[in-house]
């Protein structure tokens, strides 16, 4: 039980009756780290967060926060503050009441309560709202109050359970930055659960992508983006999603990837393992739309091809183009000012060494 980590999770197992949600879960989070638990619904991220908070009982394993074994502790004794998806503000109390209720209950002295409330309101800029009720606040304001309620607890660890999911897109973008600024200012450990990969990429020091109760990859956003460890992670991160081409990989001095009438030389691609001599079936080659070169740039690329434009989706800053490569629908991005039309013949290309290859079991090779 070292003090090096803010949060240590050892061999955690969580189950509802016969259904096992998490098993053999191990995770260490450093002090001041912003860790994001990312995944689709049902992957176990909320379950993990609730276990750390102490709101869920575990079947096996231990949880340590700041060096203390809190596996059997009530949430209030774990040194955590939590922000919920639906804000969960006490509707009949004023903002000030919401912020101070927990403190008053714990017997904190009045002037200390005042001080903490004032400090939190200043940081979150909710001072003018103190006398209002939650029903009179906007979504963004409510979320700030919810964060404030966690702030006044004067704890080291903050837990966020999909706090921005109930807000509209613009508000989400604004509050995202505020949360990042908050983290920079307070430097607390923050664990953040979301299904939105953009939130994850922009906020996290490290991301833990979860699926089926298992962490697929635990790494910095940069590495996850560039070196996804399996096909699921590769497809989850990045918008628009990665293009996948199924085919066969023939090993050799220069491995060749073949699919239909496509022959792509994988020169320069970093393999994670040495291949045998036999060709590998069921290999998937992944290329991100933003790595696809267009027009003149494409001409000099290691692999290039002329394709027919199928659908054009103008988005202002850039335009998403769908074209057919053989039988495959291929996505790539072009400059927003370019006006392509369905049926146009264009040249695209890419450098295969920037792509990712996955074997038949969807692991990276």
């Amino acid at each position: 039980m070292s003090e090096n980590y803010s949060i240590e999770i050892n061999d955690l197992k969580v189950a509802y009756g016969e259904i096992v949600v998490l098993e053999n879960m191990n995770l260490n989070i450093a002090h001041g780290e912003f860790l994001v638990l990312l995944g689709a619904s049902g992957c176990g991220k909320s379950t993990l967060l609730n276990c750390i908070a102490g709101l869920l009982d575990v079947r096996d394993g231990e949880i340590h926060i700041n060096g203390k074994n809190v596996t059997w502790e009530e949430p209030k004794d774990r040194g955590i503050g939590m922000v919920f998806q639906s804000y969960a503000l006490y509707p009949q109390m004023t903002v000030k009441g919401n912020l101070s209720f927990g403190l008053r209950n714990a017997g904190v002295k009045k002037d200390e309560v005042e001080r903490r409330v004032a400090q939190a309101s200043e940081i979150l800029q909710i001072e003018p709202l103190l006398k209002r009720r939650p029903a009179e606040l906007s979504g963004g304001q409510r979320q700030r109050v919810a964060i404030g309620r966690a702030l006044v607890r004067d704890v080291d660890v903050f837990l966020f359970d999909e706090p921005l999911s109930n807000l509209d897109a613009k508000l989400r973008a604004d509050l995202r930055v505020e949360i990042k600024r908050l983290h920079q200012r307070l430097e607390n450990t923050m664990i953040y659960v979301t299904h939105d990969q953009i939130e994850a990429m922009t906020l996290a020091d490290r991301i833990a992508i979860m699926r089926g109760g298992l962490i697929q990859q635990l790494d910095t956003p940069f590495n996850i983006y560039n070196n996804p460890v399996n096909k699921y992670v590769a497809g989850f991160i990045g918008s628009p999603a990665m293009n996948f081409i199924e085919g066969t990989l023939t090993p050799g001095d220069v491995p060749m990837f073949t699919s239909g009438d496509l022959n792509i030389s994988m020169k320069g691609y970093e393999l994670t393992q040495t291949l045998g001599s036999a060709p590998l079936e069921g290999v998937t080659l992944g290329i991100r739309p933003e790595h696809v070169l267009f027009g003149d740039a494409a001409a000099g690329a290691p692999f290039s091809r002329e394709v027919v434009v199928e659908v054009v989706e103008p988005m202002g800053a850039d335009t998403l183009v769908w074209a057919m490569i053989g039988e495959l629908s291929f996505r790539f991005r072009v400059e927003g000012q370019l006006q392509l039309r369905s049926g146009d013949k264009v040249t695209i290309g890419f450098d295969p060494s920037r792509g990712s290859m996955f074997d038949a079991e969807e692991r990276r090779i």
Binding site: A53, L55, K76, Y90
Partner: protein, 352 residues
């Protein structure tokens, strides 16, 4: 071009509403004739002389009498009120025939020195109402909160607390009448005392029904047995409607459960409380079957209630005016309960 379109639309509009209107005729009939019309009739006639509509009584071996003939057929075959020919010649004529006696009925009703029975019944229903509401709300809430704690056999407990509500007041009255009589609980305790040689128990009286002072508690015991399940179910539903994340937030904040109930849950359940209160109160005002079966209003008139007063005067004592005046008073009470509630409801809705 536009003219034809407009015309067509209006025709369609009429037809569309026609089906709905036809379908709603029973409702319109009921509201107008029954609820509005009958109430107005009652209120109006409460200002009349009481013996205007004599009733032929028909006694039975049991304590119930009911009206049989209110009308006579005249020679021509028309229905006429017995006693006077109905002629509407305007108010002046009515007053001249001393048809309207003004508030005389109400005087008789409310003058406690001449009419202690009505005063007693009002006192009783007030006492019963306040006590019943307080108790059923408190106990109902506590039981609901306890059941909400993820107890095992939750369904069993809820079924046990609620089943009396499925019974008729007559059933409840019969059982409790016997249990509360000297042959019932008292006798059982006495016999147990004799058997176990506990002197105090042997002679312990449990005669709630015998004394005018305590008979109301017998009524309460029975009535609460029947009705608390109702409030409990509504409270439980209200509690379950509270977002689970609020509970989580309170837990993270370190608020103990009982405090969460008092400071967070109850304020959030204000709407449920008010609605339940209104429904329960309006049900209490109508209390009739239970009293008739359990105590017959006795001993004497000490457990008389307004609804029974109305029925007795209306059918047994042929004192229609009194009965109608009493009914109108009951109506007034309900209106007094309803108005603040409606004001709250509609006021709140306007806010949105």
């Amino acid at each position: 071009m536009t003219a034809t379109v407009k015309h067509k639309r209006r025709r369609l509009g009429l037809f569309r509403n026609l089906s709905a209107k036809i379908a709603a005729i029973p409702m319109i009939f009921t509201t107008l004739v029954v609820f509005v019309g009958c109430s107005i009739w009652t209120i109006t006639y409460s200002f009349t002389k009481s013996k205007l509509l004599p009733v032929k009584l028909f006694t039975m071996p049991v304590e119930f009498q009911f009206p049989l003939s209110l009308f006579n057929r005249s020679e021509e075959g028309f229905l006429t009120w017995v006693g006077f020919d109905y002629q509407w010649n305007g108010f002046s004529q009515l007053i001249n025939t001393k048809f309207l006696v003004g508030f005389a009925q109400y005087d008789r009703l409310l003058d406690a020195s001449r009419n202690s029975r009505w005063a007693e019944s009002v006192e009783n229903i007030l006492f019963y109402g306040v006590f019943s509401l307080t108790f059923s709300f408190t106990v109902g809430f506590i039981l609901a909160a306890l059941i909400d704690q993820k107890v095992r056999f939750e369904n069993a407990f809820r079924s046990i607390y609620l089943y009396p509500f499925a019974l008729s007041f007559v059933v409840t009255g019969v059982v409790w009448q016997w249990m509360l009589s000297p042959d019932g609980i008292q006798d059982a305790i006495n016999q147990f005392g004799a058997w176990a040689h506990i002197g105090i128990l042997e002679n312990l009286p449990f005669k709630l029904m015998a004394s005018g002072e305590t008979v109301i508690f017998g009524l309460l015991l029975a009535g609460l047995w029947q009705g608390t399940g109702f409030t409990m179910v509504l409270m439980l539903a209200g509690m379950r409607g509270i977002d689970g994340e609020i509970w989580k937030a309170a837990r993270v904040d370190g608020i103990p459960k009982w405090k969460t109930y008092i400071f967070v849950v109850i304020p959030m359940m204000r709407g449920v409380f008010i609605t339940t209160l209104v429904i329960a109160a309006s049900g209490i005002v109508r209390l009739y079957d239970l009293v008739v079966v359990l105590t017959s209003g006795g001993p004497g008139f000490s457990s008389e209630v307004p609804a029974k007063y109305v029925y007795d005067y209306m059918f047994a004592r042929s004192n229609l005016g009194q009965a109608l005046a009493a009914s109108t008073m009951m109506l007034l009470t309900v209106v007094i309960i309803l108005i603040p509630w409606m004001y709250l409801e509609y006021g709140r809705r306007k806010e949105r």
